[in-house]
């Protein structure tokens, strides 16, 4: 913990020195960024933009994870599903995020649906690949056990399959969350009238680096809080059965 704080202090110090060297136009110092965060918070704009961006992150993340997990599980378990899904997967994996976003906006208009769909589509293939890997490594012995004891389909998923997939789902969620929020910003910049991405886009046109940093850091802070208080406790909960190394 002490090392972490030291490292953080070092980062702030480097930023201050950089700000002195580069001048406030290129790189404003930490104080002015903090002041802008406070004033935006007081006006309510910060909460509104953070909230709306967070909502987009949540919806597209949930969509991509749910869909990606189901498809990935099917592809990992059934050869036919894998053969059918694989070409789609390769195309989606290699399609640049920007192409998906632009096409979504062209085809569906500058709408919320297009924005969410574009983000979800960008995240989907990564969730699929990770969960497919997990599904391929499922223990056949436990499957057979469940079959012999005639466990219900729901019980098999909940007690046999999901716990085995948990580390893969956690990995997909971790990498997914950071990817999704970065793409949400681009989607907002290109075609939404609000959100952190939109604010950053406006600031870019005005060459307002202070505002760019204020919004970016505020959002990073929010994601850190989510990671610390949601993702990590959840991970500890699903791995509670593992004997702890002393």
């Amino acid at each position: 913990m002490a090392l972490r704080l030291l490292s953080l202090a070092l980062m702030l110090a480097a930023w201050s020195i950089g700000a002195q060297l580069a001048g406030p136009r290129m790189l404003p110092d930490p104080q002015s960024v903090a002041l802008l965060v406070v004033s935006e918070a007081q006006s309510g704009a910060l909460a509104f933009n953070l909230g709306i961006t967070l909502l987009r992150v949540a919806v597209s993340f949930t969509l991509a994870m749910a869909l990606g997990s189901v498809i990935g599980l099917l592809m990992g378990r059934f050869r036919a599903a894998d053969s059918i899904g694989d070409p789609w997967l390769v195309v989606l994996l290699n399609l640049p995020a920007l192409v998906i976003i632009v096409l979504a906006y062209v085809w569906a208009g500058l709408t919320e649906t297009a924005a969410i769909a574009a983000v979800a589509l960008n995240k989907l293939p990564i969730a699929m690949v990770t969960v497919r890997e997990g599904a391929r490594s499922l223990d056949r012995g436990l499957d057979e056990m469940a079959q012999v004891f005639r466990m219900s389909a729901w019980a098999q998923i909940r007690h046999v399959v999901l716990p085995q997939l948990a580390p893969y789902l956690a990995a997909a969620a971790r990498s997914g969350l950071s990817l999704v929020w970065k793409i949400v910003l681009i989607v907002e910049l290109l075609g939404r009238p609000n959100g952190v991405g939109f604010e950053i886009g406006t600031a870019f046109q005005l060459f307002d680096v202070t505002r760019i940093l204020a919004y970016a850091l505020a959002f990073v802070a929010v994601m850190l809080v989510i990671e610390t208080f949601l993702v990590q406790p959840l991970e500890r909960h699903v791995t509670r059965w593992r004997p702890r190394t002393a």
């Binding site: 012995g141 436990l142 057979e144 056990m145 079959q147 012999v148 004891f149 005639r150 466990m151 019980a155 007690h159 046999v160 716990p163 699903v238 059965w241 593992r242 004997p243």
Partner: protein, 242 residues
């Protein structure tokens, strides 16, 4: 020959079971194997390692449908099985492991079972915290908890030391005596078979079939060491002759 009598028995008649070999062609592992087991009887399939015993058990358990022949499970065909490895869910406690396989089990039944197998202190432990011997016991408890119409045991005591294997075998013998259940035990260990079974089926090397069926006359608890010794000799001669 009442229909109920037919239904209550385990009837196995497998004409053929073959695997396709990696190098092409097929490998026959079972050839014209048949036997039947009465309600409440304990049968032991005894044969050399690699003769297809596990394959046979998997067919009976419904895990392998790729064979020629018929298998009729007794009564409603509710199965309890103890695999060679314990096959417990590592992320569930012992009690949860048993309850998941046997949702209908009552608290009383569970307590009796856990007490009989010496597992009471470990109810809330996770399988990763147990020795192999204890994990095997949980697998036994799970199989008994479902109140099966047929209990299948696949070399349930391999890779345990002799003392522990003997103790577990005695515990198992007591369980099947207290609550009679049609049981099929697969083993390469003649000793184990005589200690537990009412009826022995000797299997030939692969492709396997039943070479001899030997009923053991006395109930388990009344067998004297002399009788068992005589019986061992009889089996040894049969195995040589086969």
């Amino acid at each position: 020959m009442s229909p109920a009598g037919v239904l209550a028995r385990l009837e196995v008649a497998i004409r053929q079971k073959a695997y396709s070999a990696a190098t092409g062609g097929t490998l026959r592992v079972i050839d014209g194997l048949s036997f039947s087991l009465g309600k409440g009887e304990v049968g032991a399939l005894v044969g050399p390692s690699g003769c297809g015993k596990t394959t046979l058990l998997r067919i009976i358990a419904g895990l392998d449908a790729d064979y020629e022949g018929e298998v009729h499970l007794p009564d409603h065909g509710r199965l309890g099985m103890v695999f060679q490895e314990p096959r417990l869910l590592p992320w569930r406690t012992l009690e949860q492991n048993v309850r998941l396989a046997a949702p209908q089990v009552t608290d009383d039944e569970l307590t009796t079972l856990f007490t009989a197998l010496g597992l009471t202190a470990h109810r809330q432990h996770y399988p990763g915290e147990l020795s192999l011997g204890l994990a095997r016991r949980v697998a036994l408890a799970r199989a008994f908890a479902v109140n099966p119409d047929l209990l299948l045991l696949d070399e349930p005591f391999v890779s345990l030391d002799d003392a522990l294997a003997t103790r577990l075998r005695d515990e198992l013998a007591e369980l099947v005596t207290r609550r009679p259940v049609t049981t099929l035990l697969v083993t390469h260990n003649v000793e184990e078979a005589i200690a537990l079974a009412d009826r022995l089926f000797l299997l030939s090397p692969s492709p396997t079939r039943v070479t001899a069926e030997l009923p053991i006359p006395n109930p388990r608890s009344k067998r004297t060491p002399e009788e068992l010794a005589a019986f061992r000799g009889q089996i040894a001669r049969k195995l040589m002759g086969a």
